[in-house]
């Protein structure tokens, strides 16, 4: 009950709503879907007032979208119909509405009716229709891939593209709908590709505004695209260095598609393909010989094919096949050149060469033949090695040489290259002038042509040589590069890969030729050389400056030129910067590139300066290391003057003092050397005169002894001037060294010869000298009135007596201290001397005759132990 009530209410509401939307206008033409209108054309629609409608034609209003259409476009047909004509543009896809406005204060609803306009273009005719069926396995694919150009205009409305294919004479037509918008291609499946039939293909494009169609009709083979030739091979033949044989297999049976072929080839080093004329490969062939090729050259070969008489599409190019032709004899001579370096009395000639341009193979070796003064000098076979294509030899200045070189590969020898090197004084003239410039990062060299020479010399060509400075340390690198240019050329660009920032010496040689026999000889003229840079840069390093002389107000600076390799350009000047200490107030002086020392002036004295030198090329500058120096406090000569004055003053002072000393010498003598009593005047001298020889002895000897006694000092220490005097006297009289002589001056050998000849084998260093004065004659001979004689032993025998009786030693020492020689003997060694000495020198003992020697125990205490203990005889 409840639900039926609700349904009734809903129906009543629906009726009410429908009643309010009652429409009394209608537009013709009308359509349940959108009405397609062509852009650019006029479209006319008519709005009709339906029967019973309260409106009149004057009430009708046209709107397109939300915009009212101008009344000028209206055309009143009658009381109940008004038409409107609009020119369609591409943006007019919208509702075209006819409205009758609601009357004021009326309950009637507003009447409205609309049609949807869709603006668009009719389809364009597809252009350039083409269809391809590629080869699949041994047959042609049934899938026909068609493409076309749909045009650039967007039709704005739904447009369909359909491809049809029909084998003429058959009723079956294959069709493919292309789904893409503005389709450009489509694939139609023919199920089986028709062979040797006429195929008709067309593409049809349709939309609401029209249709267009493009078609193709041709033999089915024209739609086929074969595969490239199969198994393409390139074969070489030993005897034919200028040809290659190309072989291949047909990609498809000739009953399906009879093919003709195209071959193209190029050098590996080139990008330009050379195509064999089609007329040469027109037949149904499977091999072809490429001719007129270059020997020993790698070629890339490709092939493609097409239906006979161009009855199909071209296939793609086959994969590249690369093969090298076989070797032939070199077709050109090696490029021979030389570098001459004069030495002291000869010339060092380095022959360098390049492989023949047309080597036609791998050069195995070169045969180098050298003639000097028209006589065969030497001949060498040099293994071809890019790293050692040079040969050095010495050529005397007065000799000429003729060099011939031939290159060999596996097929034969090359033509001969010749070069003559004249005597040093027979050089031919060179070019007059030469200059260079840089253009496009390359050196352009310009020179003046040489004047014609008298017959038979003719100018053959010019040769440009470049040598990197300094030369590379790599021995195997060619020391120079060269380039030949025709004789009528005077400007050329060096085709060398010259390095930037490196100096090169560029030389221009005229090459003359003459024909003494049947062979042309080539001889270079005198070179003209200029240094050059292909690009300059700032120097790598600045010069290191040193201060060679620093004065009070000036300083001399010297700097070494930096290595040429670090110049990186031509040094145009050096700039010297200097400043006081850390003030950074730099002053500068600029000097030429050839100046390497400079004197800075106007410097402050005794001041620290910092200085450096900056080297400049046209591309930039680089400063060298700083150098610090200090100016002097005094100028030149100032110190000398002071020294001279001081010296003179000192001299005067010295002279003055000496004069004073001379004048007051008695006073000084008394102060320094007090009065010493004279022993000769002593009473002792008169007290012991019993010795018979006393009167004959020199007085001085006695006096010396006496002085020693009184002074309490040794003889040597006190008066060395007196001792030699005494010794000389003893030597002259006794022919033996005295005790003083043995200790200080006399030869030990001399003493040994006197005492014992058998001791000659003993060294001096190990001896202890013993001396004694022989108061008696030798071996029982009694000297009559002979003065005491000295005898000395060099025995190393310890003095037994002294050792056994050290108390005697001490006593002896104390007793005979007059004869001690402090600087020569040890106290222990001196002791025996002292004993003997004391005994022999004592005037009292000297009075005793010789029994001292014959009767040791009685007279010679020290000597006896030596005889009995040290050297038993």
């Amino acid at each position: 009950m409840g639900s039926s009530h609700h349904l009734l209410v809903f129906l009543m509401f629906l009726h009410y709503a429908v009643g309010f939307t009652y429409n009394c206008v209608k537009i013709l033409p009308d359509s349940s879907s959108s009405i397609v209108v062509e852009v650019g054309k006029n479209f006319t629609a008519t709005c009709h007032l339906l029967e019973g409608c309260a409106y009149t034609s004057d009430d009708i209003e046209w709107r397109l979208g939300n915009l009212s259409i101008a009344k000028q476009s209206y055309h009143r047909i009658n009381e109940t119909a008004v038409s409107v004509t609009i020119n369609i543009s591409s943006d007019m896809s919208d509702w075209l509405k006819c409205t009758a406005p609601k009357e004021s204060l009326s309950y009637k609803p507003r009447s409205i009716y609309g049609i949807f306009l869709r603006a668009g273009y009719p389809p364009l005719k597809p252009k350039n229709l083409s269809c391809i069926a590629v080869q699949e396995d041994k047959d042609i694919s049934p899938n026909l891939n068609c493409s076309w150009d749909p045009g650039s205009r967007n039709p704005l409305i739904d447009t369909t593209y359909t491809v049809y294919a029909n084998v003429l004479g058959t009723v079956l037509t294959h069709k493919a709908d292309c789904k893409q918008h503005l389709a450009r291609f489509c694939i139609v499946n023919l199920e089986t590709f028709p062979i040797h039939m006429v195929l008709k293909v067309w593409v049809e494009v349709k939309n609401a505004l029209g249709s267009e169609r493009s078609e193709l009709q041709n033999d089915s083979s024209y739609f086929a695209k074969p595969n490239p030739p199969l198994n393409v091979q390139v074969l070489t033949e030993d005897k034919f260095p200028t040809s290659l044989v190309v072989t291949w297999k047909h990609p498809i049976d000739r009953t399906i598609l009879k093919l003709s072929y195209a071959i193209r080839y190029r050098k590996v080093t080139s990008n330009v393909w050379i195509e064999v004329p089609e007329s040469f490969t027109r037949g149904y062939i499977e091999s072809f010989r490429l001719q007129s090729l270059e020997p020993y050259t790698q070629y890339v070969v490709q092939m493609r094919c097409i239906g006979e008489s161009n009855s199909s599409y071209w296939s793609n190019w086959s994969p590249s096949v690369t093969e090298r032709t076989t070797e032939a004899k070199p077709a050109s001579a090696p490029d021979l050149w030389r570098i001459i370096r004069p030495t002291s009395n000869s010339r060092n000639v380095t022959l360098i060469w390049k492989a023949p341009v047309k080597a036609n193979g791998k050069i195995r070796f070169y045969n180098l033949s050298i003639n000097q003064n028209n006589e065969k000098f030497e001949s060498h076979n040099i293994t071809a090695d890019n790293l050692s294509q040079m040969y050095s030899m010495e050529l005397p200045a007065g000799k000429m040489a003729s060099i011939e070189i031939t290159a060999y590969n596996s097929a034969g020898e090359s033509p001969k290259a010749t070069l003559s090197i004249p005597r040093s004084d027979k050089e031919l003239p060179g070019v007059k002038d030469m200059s260079w410039s840089v253009r496009d990062e390359k050196l352009q060299v310009k020179w003046t042509a040489v004047l014609p020479l008298p017959h038979p010399l003719k100018l053959s060509e010019y040769l440009l040589e470049w040598v990197k400075i300094p030369q590379s340390v790599h021995q195997k690198e060619l020391p120079a590069g060269w380039q030949r240019v025709p004789k009528n050329v005077t400007v050329t660009t060096l085709n060398a890969g010259l390095e930037k920032f490196k100096r090169y010496n560029i030389s221009v040689y005229p090459i003359y030729k003459y024909q003494p026999g049947h062979v042309w000889h080539f001889q270079p003229g005198r070179p003209v050389t200029r240094p050059a840079y292909v690009q300059q840069g700032p120097p790598k390093e600045g010069p290191t400056v040193t201060v060679t002389k620093s004065k009070k107000n000036s300083a001399e600076l010297t700097w070494e030129e930096t290595p040429l390799d670090s110049h990186q350009g031509f040094i145009i000047h050096y700039t010297i910067f200097y400043a006081i200490g850390n003030t950074k107030q730099w002053k500068s002086e600029t000097v030429g590139p050839n100046v390497h020392s400079y004197v800075l002036t106007d410097l402050a004295s005794e001041t620290d300066y910092v200085v450096y030198v900056m080297a400049s090329t046209e591309a930039g500058s680089v400063k060298g290391t700083d150098c610090t120096f200090k100016t002097m406090k005094y100028g030149d000569g100032e110190v000398e003057v002071i020294v001279v004055v001081v010296c003179l003053s000192f001299l005067f002072l010295t002279v003055f003092i000496i004069m004073i000393c001379l004048r007051k010498r008695e006073v000084i003598k008394k102060l320094l050397w007090p009065q010493v009593p004279d022993p000769s005047d002593s009473s002792i001298a008169h007290w012991s005169p019993d010795f018979p020889i006393k009167a004959d002895l020199p007085k001085e000897d006695v006096s010396v002894v006496e002085v020693d006694v009184f002074d309490g000092k040794s003889l040597c220490e006190e008066d060395k001037g007196v001792l030699p005097l005494k010794k000389d006297k003893y030597l002259s009289e006794e022919h033996s060294s005295g005790i003083g002589g043995s200790s200080c001056m006399s030869s030990p050998r001399h003493s040994v010869s006197d005492s014992d000849e058998g001791d000659s084998g003993q060294t001096t260093s190990s001896t202890v000298q013993y001396s004694t004065v022989l108061g008696s004659g030798y071996k029982g001979q009694t000297p009559s009135h002979q003065p005491p004689a000295f005898a000395r032993s060099e025995s190393t025998q310890p003095l037994l007596d002294c050792e056994e009786h050290p108390d005697h030693l001490n006593e002896s020492q104390s007793r005979s201290s007059y004869f001690r020689r402090g600087r020569e003997l040890e106290p222990g060694v001196l002791a025996p001397e002292c004993d003997g000495g004391s005994l022999t020198f004592c005037p009292v003992q000297e009075e005793e005759p010789s029994p001292v020697a014959e009767e040791p125990p009685a007279s010679a205490l020290c000597y006896m132990p030596q005889k009995s203990g040290y050297r038993p005889q």
Partner: protein, 223 residues
């Protein structure tokens, strides 16, 4: 008055001109309706014969290959089944005395073979997987034999342009009734064998036309 006369004259002249244009079109349409599928005028005689011969030669070769493929796919008894005799398979013998009669015989036989080939293809689809070399080969062969028949028809039109070419009656030779598998295999082998023989003879017949058919037509000046 004059105007009226002039208008009437003008109207009659316009209608005559329209009739002259429309009449040839109507005749052309009528001719095309008589031979709706045989468009042989697009090619020259020599070209037609050349292409027809190449296609027949290709199919002759392929039919031999297909026969081998067929035998290989039928198992060990292939040689046995191919030696069987069947009456309802068209013969491959070319008959006729004149050139036209023999070409017509070729055409008729080709048409007769087509339904048999279709039958064999359907049988092979049932006996083997639907997609196999024999079926694919047969499918392609049917298309190409159809194309050969069309070419031969054109040749016939050239040889006897004024005589309608009789189309063989549909199923005139009769498709064999239901067969067992062995019979189907034997039937297929015999069809392919005889087709291969027919195509070989067709090649020979067309070769014999070389230098004769198109020479006559050239003399007549029609092509």
């Amino acid at each position: 008055m004059n105007c009226h006369v002039m208008n009437m004259v003008c109207l009659s002249q316009r209608s005559q001109a329209k009739f002259r244009i429309i009449l040839p079109i109507l005749i052309l349409i009528a001719v095309e309706l008589v031979h709706p599928t045989m468009s042989c005028k697009n090619e020259k005689c020599s070209q037609l014969l050349h292409r027809s011969l190449k296609l027949t030669r290709l199919m002759s070769k392929r039919s031999a290959d297909l026969l081998e493929t067929y035998k290989a796919s039928q198992g060990d008894s292939a040689d046995l089944i191919c030696d069987m005799q069947m009456d309802n398979v068209p013969v491959s013998t070319i008959s006729g005395q004149t050139m036209s009669e023999r070409i017509l015989s070729v055409y008729t036989h080709l048409k007769e073979f087509l339904p048999h080939m279709k039958t064999v293809m359907e049988q092979q689809k049932d006996l083997n997987p639907p997609i196999n070399p024999v079926v694919e080969g047969l499918h392609s062969m049917i298309t190409h034999v159809h194309h050969i028949a069309q070419r031969v028809n054109c040749i016939l039109q050239i040889l006897q342009p004024n005589i309608p070419i009789p189309e063989p009656a549909e199923r005139s030779t009769g498709i064999p009734p239901a067969q067992n598998i062995f019979q189907q295999k034997a039937y297929g082998c015999i069809v392919l064998s005889r087709l291969q023989e027919l195509l070989s003879q067709a090649v020979q017949e067309q070769k014999s036309l070389k230098g004769k058919m198109c020479k006559q037509r050239t003399k007549n000046g029609s092509l």
